[in-house]
């Protein structure tokens, strides 16, 4: 299982490009704010179309401008954890968690609600509305929602940035367990050196 990514995209005056290959484990895209790290994740997820390039994950081609291939977002099976959580405000935590699970093919599901709830310790939150959650709680639910959609890999966009120190430590532990216990390949965006040093097996500098 590996990321093979070579993409280029012009956004305004800036040209965002990335060219790297990485194996299993957690790969950090590391660089200053505004360097285009999130745009690279969006290109991998399919939310942003590269001007040219190629994206393959675990040997499966998601995008290839030369061959005219662009897999739609919903078919890529990316577990995307956004910086701002993005829980659906009109659905309770339980329905947020099951949103992707309900849409995944049964064969693609590798975790059920009970597993996710136990893994993340969010059983007491299931009937709550997202707006009533703290930052750390919301981020755990967001991670659970991504895991339950049956992803083949995770994309994490600064999942710790909106949290205080205690919550950061807690979510960092969750991410380590995702990496080690679930052996999911993770593409992780951060501008925090200590975070990257602790979590990443491989570091890809962006805009440095």
């Amino acid at each position: 299982m590996s990321f093979e990514i070579a993409v280029e995209r012009r956004l305004g005056d800036a040209i965002i490009c990335a060219d790297f290959t990485s194996g299993a484990g957690l790969t950090a895209l590391f660089g200053p704010s505004g360097a285009g790290k999130t745009s690279i994740l969006n290109m991998v997820a399919g939310l942003l179309r590269p001007d040219r390039g190629r994206i393959a994950i675990g040997g499966e081609l998601l995008f290839d401008s030369a061959a005219g291939i662009a897999m739609p977002v919903e078919a890529r099976r990316a577990g995307y954890v956004f910086q701002d959580g993005r829980l659906f405000p009109h659905k309770r935590v339980r329905d947020n968690l099951l949103y992707g699970w309900n849409r995944a093919l049964p064969a693609n599901r590798w975790m059920n609600l009970d597993d996710a709830v136990a893994f993340l310790g969010i059983g007491h939150l299931l009937d709550r509305w997202p707006r009533t959650l703290s930052g750390g709680e919301a981020q755990r639910v967001a991670i659970g929602r991504a895991l339950l959609s049956g992803p083949r890999f995770l994309l994490m966009d600064e999942p710790l940035s909106s949290l205080d120190a205690a919550r950061r430590e807690e979510i960092m532990g969750v991410i380590e367990r995702l990496r080690d216990e679930l052996a999911l390949p993770i593409l992780y965006v951060s501008h925090d050196r200590s975070e990257v040093e602790r979590l990443a097996g491989q570091v890809v500098p962006v805009g440095l």
Binding site: D84, P89, A104, S149
Partner: protein, 233 residues
């Protein structure tokens, strides 16, 4: 004083029928226009926006006259609808409904557009990454988040169409039982000496209906899903 006569009941029920039909039929059109204005980029968007809003600023008499030209018995749209569907508008309640619909459209589109624009597109992106197709995303995320605003827009349009006067009287005249809606009945009563009681009764009913609709619209907008709030008025 407050005994409402059979004739007045007829006016009220006609008003409700005209407005109900007008808003019911305009709802999908208003939604489509609001969606296009909120989400689609194309040349000439400013023009479409202006056209939709025209009835809001045009003298209603002019709107009524334009409807007469287009949908009258000799108008191009009127002749076509009569030939193919047997729908005629002249001096009929259908004409009053058409006038009410055209006059209510700008308000409905405005309210709906605001509620569509208020939906965070990043939530739609999140839904896509979770495996939802664009259609599913629309029905499970966009529509439920926008729906209080859509309903508020519809109620607002209903209130506006209850009060419609100028375009209606110009387009389809003041025919009892067909086009004599609340405002037209009030206007008619004002022309007759000694009918202050009728005017007062009908006016109170008009105020009550409008107030009810505005409150309903505001409550719906405020409910805009679990405290996210927003006004349409």
């Amino acid at each position: 004083m407050f005994a409402i006569s059979g004739e007045e009941w007829e006016v009220i029920s006609l008003s409700l029928k005209v407005s109900g039909v007008a808003i019911g039929l305009t709802l999908p059109i208003a939604f489509a226009l609001a969606w296009i204005l909120a989400r689609v980029r194309f040349p000439g968007k400013v023009l479409l926006d202006a056209l939709v809003h025209l009835p809001l600023v045009l003298p209603p008499v002019v709107t009524g006259w334009l409807l007469l030209l287009a949908f009258g018995n000799n108008g191009p749209a009127g002749r076509w609808l009569a030939e193919w569907f047997g729908i005629t508008f002249m001096f009929r309640w259908t004409g009053a409904a058409l006038a009410a619909a055209v006059m209510a459209l700008p308000l409905m589109v405005r309210a709906m557009r605001i509620s569509i624009e208020a939906v965070d597109r990043r939530l739609e992106d999140a839904a896509r990454t979770l495996g939802a197709s664009p259609t599913r995303t629309f029905f499970s995320i966009t529509l439920p988040l926008a729906i209080p605003g859509l309903l508020a827009g519809a109620v607002l349009g209903f209130a506006r169409s209850i009060g419609e006067f100028g375009a209606t009287i110009t387009f389809v005249s003041n025919i009892p039982g067909e086009t004599r809606t609340l405002p037209l009945a009030i206007y008619g009563a004002l022309q007759v000496p000694g009918s202050e009681a009728v005017v007062t009764r009908l006016s109170i009913i008009a105020v009550a209906l409008s107030l009810l609709a505005l409150v309903a619209s505001e409550l719906l907008a405020r409910r805009a899903g679990h405290g996210r709030g927003g006004h349409v008025i």
